[in-house]
Symmetry: C2
Subunit: 187 residues, 2 copies
């Protein structure tokens, strides 16, 4: 739980007593490669904070083609947030790409901690602000950019992921074909 505390304290400070209480709402879980944390159609009860490992959030279109919405690594939060916040069935999958550990907690936890501690409401607001900005950037890239520009932006933002991930997965994230991606790598 020390990682959770450090993660929270990047934004706000909590006392030992407060943290002792806060941590009771989070549960640790080991995740194996190819294990699913959320499956399309599930009730989405949890959000996850990544302690280690690598994960992908993706969905399938009607033809079964896969599209990756985001990756998640250490200190990133992930869920099917539309379903999580609106208490609907999952429209996405979350699958583990590289084994690790996560903390999970419920929407009640997020709301309860935000209600009881102004500083936790602040913590979640700041995390959402960062997430909102990141999504807006992704929309700009998806709307305007050529495959080449998308690839370069991804390589600049996530140099570690570009080395680590199979090309198939990167192609699904960028919304380009395998063939297009291979051409980009060879440039």
């Amino acid at each position: 739980m020390e990682k959770l505390r450090r993660h929270i304290e990047e934004i706000t400070t909590v006392t030992d007593e407060e943290f002792a209480y806060i941590q009771t709402f989070f549960t640790k879980k080991r995740v194996l490669k190819n294990q699913f944390l959320i499956h399309e159609g599930d009730e989405v009860k949890y959000e996850f904070l990544v302690l280690s490992g690598l994960y992908k959030v993706f969905f399938l279109d009607e033809q079964g083609k896969e599209f990756i919405i985001q990756f998640a690594k250490e200190n990133w939060w992930m869920s099917d947030y539309q379903s999580f916040f609106q208490e609907k069935k999952a429209g996405v999958f979350i699958e583990c790409i590289e084994a690790g550990e996560v903390l999970f907690s419920t929407l009640d936890t997020r709301e309860k901690l935000s209600h009881e501690f102004h500083k936790m409401e602040h913590f979640f607001r700041v995390k959402l602000t960062n997430g909102y900005v990141a999504l807006q950037q992704r929309i700009k890239l998806l709307l305007s950019n050529t495959p080449q520009e998308r690839f370069e932006a991804f390589a600049t933002s996530y140099p570690d992921l570009i080395l680590k991930l199979p090309k198939k997965i990167i192609a699904e994230y960028l919304g380009v074909s395998r063939e297009t991606l291979s051409r980009l790598y060879s440039k």
Copy 2:
């Protein structure tokens, strides 16, 4: 300012005294058709709450092609949020499509009100949560859907806008050509 109060009270209640204080941080402004609230390269000092009228948030690629990130109508917030939160120069334009009024306020206002009132931190967190979910939906649509599906999703979500907006503007929002959009209308 009654609209601001009703907007806040959709999420949390404020006393007369609290609201008298909160409203001092917001300034009302009339906006004319084709007037720009933010211009690429500006310092982004303000965010805007729409009281009336219709606005578009867009950017230009290097060839001068226009891409619309979002529309904004009554009760929607708008800014170049990446630049607003990170205090960078604007990468987008905000232009008025249909004359109206907005309230504007600074990042200091958002932070100060959030700090002084737990309930205002809650208000902004809830607004961000809704915005985050909407952006994630837009990413899913942009990644996977055919022009036909994007058009139908837009028509379902914003039946008023589809009637009101020129086809050119809708095409720029959907990321499709004018010709493709005309085919979709004729179906």
